[in-house]
């Protein structure tokens, strides 16, 4: 079972390495959006510090939306998805493998880049740590929830817009608690509560999202 999971992850990572441009699109989008705000707003430290959590989190959310469309569509087009559905493996396991690889490729670089970008907003080292941690807990949840939308809109024209419409409402709690954690730390309230909520959302989506995605894939493959 673990062998299958590992094979899927390794397969998708190999494919990502051979198609690097797709990977960098998401990361560059994130970097550009986050870097443009300080330039547009001007060097007002207090304002920047105030908007930092929200800006970084909104950018992370949009970047992960941007990457979603390709999660299943490429496999759908060349018929490998159909083959995966016909293997004697639980579809939820395949979904989990694909989402894991997807997060490693599109989510993890954002998480690692965020503290560096946060410097532009004059965040304290501690706040940067909380930002990193909140993204580390939040972005996998975004990928998992997004996978449901990506699976549902498979093979539809203009699927990209539809995915955003379907998935964004579900992602809002992640945004609120993610940005909230950093804000709470900056204002000295303590970030524990928010991070616990993020952890809970991640666990919940880890259990439920693959099941929903598997069901959606079966419908879309018809």
């Amino acid at each position: 079972m673990f062998e299958v999971f590992r094979t899927i992850v390794r397969r998708d990572l190999t494919l990502a390495v051979r198609r690097r441009s797709d990977v960098f699109t998401t990361l560059f989008f994130f970097i550009i959006v986050v870097s443009l705000f300080p330039l547009g707003i001007g060097p007002e430290m207090n304002t920047l510090r105030l908007i930092a959590p929200g800006v970084v989190w909104v950018a992370a959310l949009l970047a992960s939306m941007l990457a979603l469309e390709r999660l299943f569509s490429v496999d759908f087009e060349d018929g490998t998805l159909e083959q995966m559905l016909l293997t004697p493996q639980p579809v939820t396991l395949l979904v989990l493998g694909k989402v894991t690889a997807h997060w490693l490729v599109t989510g993890l670089p954002l998480v690692l880049m965020a503290p560096l970008l946060g410097l532009q907003y004059d965040l304290s080292t501690e706040a940067l740590g909380v930002l990193l941690l909140s993204l580390l807990l939040g972005t996998p949840a975004l990928s998992l929830i997004g996978a449901i939308g990506a699976a549902l809109t498979l093979g539809l024209r203009g699927g990209g817009v539809l995915v955003s419409l379907l998935v964004l409402p579900l992602c809002i709690p992640v945004l609120i608690f993610g940005a909230g954690a950093v804000e709470a730390n900056v204002s000295g309230l303590g970030e524990q509560g928010h991070l616990s909520m993020l952890g809970a959302i991640l666990l919940l989506s880890l259990v439920l999202a693959p099941v929903a995605t598997a069901a959606a894939l079966r419908i879309s493959a018809e």
């Binding site: 397969r11 060349d78 018929g79 293997t87």
Partner: protein, 211 residues
């Protein structure tokens, strides 16, 4: 044994076939006939379980494939119009990943040998993106050489293949049937497999399908 009972499929608002009943025993080959759009692919996908039929049942060894689920997948190989191979991976990688997912373990060596038998010597480690249509089809068909599934469902297996490959594939299919396997295939080409001792099924919208 594969049993199709009273199967009906509707695509869009057109009924492709209804009341379709037949069975396939080990050592039998079923050749599906029918003009374009008569529902051959739909029938094959319904047998695989990729499409939920509007009515009727597909049974494998006496049990509904819905209940069997992954058990049934273990006994099945389906190769459709799409080759189901990744363009950015080479033949060996494609074959090996496919095998792990199917729960068959093969060594690197076996994968190389299978591809070589399919006439891809010297192309095994090229990304399939650079191969021709026929060569891609050969990579897809190499799965048949390493798989031990009993039921093969092949949708137009001979398209894009040259004569030598068609001959080879026919011999592979023939020996599978002789070893007690079951094959369902469609082809518009007249090949020796599709004549003689095989079951024929004609699909069409005028009459309901029957064996």
């Amino acid at each position: 044994m594969l049993e199709i009972a009273d199967l009906e499929c509707v695509r869009g608002d057109r009924r492709l076939f209804s009341g379709l009943t037949f069975s396939l025993k080990p050592g039998e080959l079923l050749h599906l006939h029918g003009h374009n759009g008569s529902g051959k692919t739909t029938l094959m996908r319904a047998i695989c379980g990729l499409i939920q039929p509007t009515a009727g049942k597909v049974r494998w060894k006496g049990e509904s494939i819905r209940q069997l689920g992954e058990e049934f997948s273990r006994d099945l190989v389906y190769i459709g119009h799409k080759n189901g191979i990744k363009d950015d991976l080479n033949g060996v990688e494609n074959l090996r990943i496919g095998c792990v997912l199917e729960g068959v373990s093969i060594t690197d060596r076996q994968a190389w040998e299978a591809l070589e038998q399919m006439g891809l010597r010297g192309h095994e480690d090229l990304p399939t993106r650079v191969l021709s249509q026929g060569q891609k089809r050969r990579v897809a068909m190499a799965r048949l050489l390493v798989n031990r599934a009993q039921l093969w469902i092949l949708d137009e297996p001979f398209t894009a293949l040259d004569l030598a490959a068609v001959d080879f594939l026919q011999s592979v299919i023939r020996s599978h049937v002789e070893d007690g396997g079951m094959v369902i295939l469609t082809t518009h080409q007249e090949v020796s497999l599709t004549r003689g001792q095989v079951k024929q099924l004609q699909l069409g919208w005028k009459e309901d399908g029957n064996v």
